[in-house]
Amino acid sequence: MQIAIASGKGGTGKTTIATSLAKSLVGSHKVHYLDCDVEAPNGHLFLHPDIQTQKDAIIRIPQIDTNLCTLCGRCVEVCQFHALAQTADEIVLFPELCHGCGSCTWNCPEDAITEIANPIGIIESGITPDGINFCHGVLKISEPMPTPIIRQMRKYKSLSRDSVVILDAPPGASCSVVETLRAVDYAILVTEPSPFGKHDLLQIFGILKDLKIPAGVIINRTDGHESDIEQLILEKQIPILMQIPFDKSIAAGIASGRTLVELQPEYRERFIAMFDFIESFLAVEQVC
């Protein structure tokens, strides 16, 4: 089963939920934790994995053989991303604009293009001391595109059907979030009771509707001002899975690198109960 943790707004507690859920389930399930926030990955700071494998996340960029190139300009014409430009005596590549789609390579009439690997980040995986299978991607500084790394991470391991895969999504509601949410079974949305949390939650609801993914919401840092956001969630007929009150000692504990279930062990039961709810919800849905 694949469960993504998403939020829209940044800093609402996605990683807090994802790491604590992983730690709560590892006693009873085979658990994979995938940190898909490749621009700002933080899961490793809480789970302390022993990294066993490391490989480059790449996109394939064109290399033009100048002996074969006749400067016909076909590659420039087919490139939708303006990554190739033609000057008087050569074709110039802007690698940071290249999506690695391969279109120029296939369309070159002289077969003058080969593809070389352009590393845009790394994918590391290993195991945590409590037995969680850990994997994260790290986007290289100044590289613009997180999405290919997320795509490669999701293909990286053949994930067995009986394992629970927890995907920690990036903030926002654009392409990298969609790449994380694609084909997951369920999404847990983490929000906070404020107009910002509410606005950005609506953005994520839009994505989930398009992708037809069922979801539930966790309201984090409640402080007695939840009625607004509760009403919105109710109107959308989405279950509220959990509410976590604001607590300065939790905030400080998480800042120091500890997970919620380590700080307040009673949450472990609540995460297990939440997972059971999701599991039975999905079982019913499959039957219907």
Binding site: E39, A40, S103, L139, P195, D200
Partner: protein, 317 residues
């Protein structure tokens, strides 16, 4: 004295990690600029186009909404498709499937399509066309401070970087037209394409860091990004007293990297209260600890920009 420059100086506010307080700090700066900015010609850009919140806490009137037409997506004509599957073989985005309604032809999942058009050039039947997509709206709104350019990317769309570049360009044109003394850009989280789009052309960056392991980790990544693009950078710490050890670590990092730390904002529930009231903390609660700290940070930011020869705002009114 107003410094005349070809282009309005740009201050970009970034963080790496999400939720550190970029938008609240941007809003406070916008409010605090009102007293120095008699002609009300501040230019503001909300560059977090897929979670655009700044305008929710500024009192503005919307002047105009424009459509944002982004990239194109492939569409297969079910009449022309003969089901050869060449398109599937060239697609690197796993976006092409058998049509669920008609198993003999293919169908493009618009959510997965990257818009590369490789399939279009491969199809022997010329059955595939690229259809440009309406991917969001961008807006121009007017407030007491001046003008804000903001946008709403439709959920799940690509090209957030392209939309950021577009609204920054529109903002720059307006800024030049009215000789705006300063442009404030509220940036997105992360370090990827919309962040790069928000940074390009910026004259100075303010990083809003949050104490803690995650905050420090992401601070290092956004700082490395700004260094790569050679943008002068200053730093402030938000929620500094929530985890004092983390603030010490940030101070240490700032010393190591020679980044000027221009102030610390204590954890203050007035910031949340101001957001709920749809306003700026410095306007609603001027005596609150966060507001007092923000006044100092705003002054220090202006001082720093002035030292770089940047802003036309007069520091002392």
């Amino acid at each position: 004295m107003l410094i005349t420059r070809a282009q309005t100086p740009q201050l970009v506010i970034l963080s790496g990690k999400g939720g550190t307080g970029k938008t609240s700090i941007s809003a406070a700066f916008i409010h605090l600029s009102e007293s120095l900015n008699q002609e009300k010609r501040l230019t503001v850009v909300d560059a977090d186009v897929d979670a655009a919140n700044l305008n929710l806490i500024l009192q503005t009137d919307s002047l105009a909404t424009y459509e944002f037409w982004g990239s194109s997506t492939a569409e297969i004509s079910s009449e022309k498709c003969e089901g050869c599957g060449d398109c599937v073989r060239v697609c690197r985005y796993d976006a092409i499937f058998r049509d669920p309604q008609n198993n003999t032809v293919y169908w493009v999942d618009p959510v997965a399509c990257d818009g590369c058009a490789a399939c279009v050039y491969t199809c022997p039947q010329n059955a595939i066309a690229m259809i440009q997509q309406l991917e969001g709206n961008w807006l121009q709104s007017k407030g007491k401070f001046g003008m804000i350019f903001h946008a709403e990317l439709f959920p799940g769309r690509e090209n957030s970087g392209k939309l950021v570049s577009l609204i920054k360009q529109k903002a720059q044109e307006w800024a030049q037209h009215v000789e705006s003394p300063l442009m404030i850009i509220d940036g997105p989280p992360g370090i990827g394409c919309p962040v790069i789009a928000a940074c390009v052309g910026a004259d100075m960056a303010l990083i809003v860091a949050e104490p803690g392991m995650a905050g420090l980790h992401d601070l290092k990544r956004i700082f490395a990004t700004l260094k790569h693009f050679k943008i002068p950078t200053v730093l402030c710490i938000n929620k500094a007293d929530l985890y004092p050890q983390g603030s010490l670590e940030i101070q240490q990092f700032a010393r190591q990297e020679n980044i000027k730390l221009i102030g610390e904002i204590p954890f203050d529930p007035h910031i949340q209260s101001a957001i709920r009231l749809g306003t700026q903390v410095t306007r609603e609660f001027p005596q609150a600890p966060a507001s007092q700290a923000l006044c100092k940070i705003w002054q220090a930011t202006l001082d720093h920009m002035l030292n770089l020869g940047l802003t036309g705002l007069k520091i002392n009114g």
